[in-house]
């Protein structure tokens, strides 16, 4: 009996330790697989940066930092300057933000504070679907519908502002809808869902207690939003805006379709321009090896650095917001 007991006991013990070993092994395999995935990401990032730098080296060593403020982009003269693409990238993104931020905040405020319950889901879903439209579709729509419409109905109206001294130069009508402003407008539509969804989420983090107390004190909806919701979620909002900005800076296809692809910097919003990603997309396939290709890769490096700074700033602000 004792023997049987101990035999059973032994058997179950060995069975358990076999199972335990299996579990430990599984755990270990899982650990290394996960580790490998994580390391892979870092390797890819480092690999991309290193190959960009290596590829851009002929241009980097040829023109140094003057690459950043040279406007001329000439294959014939072998002078490649990044000023026009950098200017276009930053200006389109900034205008997109100027249009996109108020609208996004408006949508988010409406959804969290004002919207009747049955409408919340449909509007929320519509905003999220906007994020799911591929950028080439925005490009085609912009090229075939938005740009001709703006050229026919919008630009002539604003073109009349030319008579105003100084800022009139912003509105000189090029006659074509493919320009800086159209690209900015398309970008504004594209960043809407990103900024809206983050804004809505941070608005919802405002404690009900605070909000209800404010309403209880007799504040109007506008006062609650202005004095309670926005100050409470300010840092998160900035983070959301920065993520939208990151998206706007790197957007390629939609912008390439509508920006007009010109390396000449012009004061007018209605003149064609170019961005870093549009320049690369247009010219890479036909670029000669040597300085031309290297300059395009250097443009890529510049864009990576700009986007990296914006995203790092966004992450930092979001983390700070959470701690607070």
């Amino acid at each position: 009996m004792a023997v049987t007991t101990s035999g059973t006991f032994d058997a179950s013990q060995t069975a358990m330790s076999a199972k335990a070993r299996q579990v430990i092994l599984q755990d270990r395999i899982f650990y290394y697989l996960a580790l490998a995935s994580a390391v892979l990401v870092v390797l890819v990032l480092v690999g991309v940066m290193v190959s960009l730098i290596v590829g851009a080296w002929p241009a980097l060593s040829h023109s140094g930092l003057s690459f950043l403020w040279t406007e001329r982009w000439s294959k014939k003269a072998q002078i490649f300057g990044a000023l026009a693409p950098i200017y276009g990238t930053i200006v389109t993104s900034v205008i997109a933000m100027i249009i996109g931020i108020p609208v996004s905040f408006g949508i988010a405020m409406f959804l969290t504070e004002l919207c009747p319950q049955p409408l919340r889901r449909p509007i929320g879903v519509a905003v999220e679907l906007l994020a799911g439209i591929p950028s080439i579709i925005y490009g085609l729509w912009g090229f075939f519908y938005l740009a001709p419409w703006l050229a026919a109905h919008f630009q002539p109206v604003f073109g009349a502002l030319v008579v105003i001294p100084v800022i009139g130069a912003l509105f000189v009508d090029s006659g074509s809808g493919l320009n800086l402003f159209t690209a900015s407008l398309i970008l504004a539509i594209m960043v809407l869902p990103f900024i809206t969804s983050i804004t809505r989420d941070v608005f919802q983090t405002v404690p009900t207690l605070l909000r209800e107390s404010a309403y209880g004190m007799g504040m109007t909806t506008w006062e609650v939003v202005r004095s309670i919701v926005i100050p409470y979620s300010r840092v998160g909002l900035v983070g959301g805006v920065m993520l939208g900005l990151g998206r706007a800076l790197g957007e390629t296809m939609a912008v390439t379709f509508v920006i007009g692809n010109s390396h000449n910097i012009s004061a007018s919003l209605f003149d064609p321009a170019t961005t870093i990603s549009a320049t690369i997309a247009n010219e890479f396939a036909e670029a000669d090896p040597g300085l031309f290709t290297a300059s395009l890769l250097e443009l890529g490096l510049v864009l990576s650095i700009i986007t990296f700074i914006v995203l790092a700033l966004a992450k930092w602000l979001l983390v700070r917001g959470e701690i607070k």
Binding site: G175, T256, N261, S262, H263, N264, N282, E283, A287
Partner: protein, 349 residues
């Protein structure tokens, strides 16, 4: 050129895959979009006859040159001829495959297709941004009977590198010393004015939807999209309209016999009937191909196309290479050898 980075990469991957796989029977090529419609038509007929297909990636002339230099494809096709030095450096030969015409297209309220005449200096002035309005004196002088609006000219050019741009800018340089000195002729130039559109279809669509626009595309694009194209005053001072006949007239006056490596750009040719902005597409192939059988198959296909593809080319508004030139070309194929033996003669006939 419809492609960007992605298509180039995709083409590279595909052609790599093709060369690795057991599909050696298909002829592989890459390059010019100008010749693509003809190649695909020829390829259908050739496959029906011989069972050998053509895998041609229309990724643009520049990309085609890169692909053939890297030996990922058997042949490349380019609308800009390579210089003797470039050919020697990469061990390539070139020969013309097809010819056609580039036409200025416009969108002016109240002006009918063919209702506008331009010449090289005026076109150069427009593309330099010096002639800004449609009722400019220079345009009026060429079109005394046309009522031109006082509307701004919207210049449309290619944003991507393109063989069409090379031929067009070569022609502008022939009409304007200023253009030749400051801007030059290349697949991509430093455009002083205007809007850049991607690909010939991008240029065609931009002109179509922009009042006051002018652009340039290969003739087939203008014909298929029913765009208004302009007539041109040619080198002989005669006004000609774009048609197969005027393209053929330009092609026939080209002096292929005395041109080393068939390096003749056929813009601004003499002759009363010559269309001034005519263009050719050249095929590039290695003189010492790694895969002699593949090169032989490609040459057999070209030989078939020269002899039997004339009507197909004509149907698409392209000009076939004249028989006299084909004889010169096929004689030059003797230089394409493998182990000392000509690839073409060895595998065909």
């Amino acid at each position: 050129m419809k492609t960007a980075l992605l298509a180039g990469a995709a083409a590279a991957v595909i052609s790599l895959a093709m060369s690795g796989a057991a599909l050696a029977a298909d002829i592989t090529g890459a390059g010019s979009t100008f010749i693509y419609p003809v190649f695909s038509k020829w390829a259908d007929a050739y496959k029906a006859k011989t069972g050998i297909g053509l895998n041609y990636q229309s990724i643009g002339s520049g990309a085609g040159i890169k692909q053939v230099e890297a030996k990922t494809v058997t042949f490349g096709a380019t609308d800009k001829p390579l210089s003797d030095a470039e050919l020697t450096k990469n061990g390539l030969v070139q020969f013309p495959m097809i010819q056609g015409g580039i036409v200025p297209i416009f969108n002016i309220d109240g002006v009918k297709p063919g209702g506008l005449v331009l010449d090289a200096p005026t076109l150069a002035g427009i593309y330099q941004g010096k002639i800004k309005k449609w009722d400019d004196a220079a345009i009026k002088a060429l079109n005394p009977s046309v009522t031109l609006p006082s509307a701004p000219i919207v210049v449309v050019h290619r944003a991507d590198g393109s063989g069409t741009t090379f031929n067009f800018t070569t022609y502008l340089g022939q009409g304007s010393q200023d253009w030749a000195d400051n801007i030059g002729a290349d697949t991509t130039v430093e455009w002083p004015a205007g809007v850049g559109a991607k690909g010939s279809d991008g240029v065609a669509n931009t002109v179509k939807q922009t009042a006051g626009a002018i652009g340039y595309v290969e003739f087939a694009y203008a014909a298929q999209n029913k765009l208004s194209y302009a007539d041109m005053k040619n080198a002989a001072g005669k006004t000609v309209e774009p048609s197969l006949d005027s393209f053929a007239a330009a092609a026939s006056s080209a002096d292929w016999k005395n041109a080393k490596n068939f390096n003749v750009v056929i813009t601004n040719q003499p002759g009363d009937n010559s269309w001034p902005i005519a263009a050719s597409t050249w095929v590039l192939i290695h003189t010492q191909p790694d895969d002699a059988a593949a090169a032989g198959e490609a040459l057999k296909f070209f030989d078939w196309a020269y002899r039997n593809g004339k009507d197909d080319a004509k149907g698409l508004d392209y000009v076939a290479i004249p028989d006299s030139v084909v004889t010169l070309i096929e004689a030059s194929w003797a230089n394409i050898t493998s182990g000392g033996k000509p690839v073409f003669a060895a595998s065909a006939m």
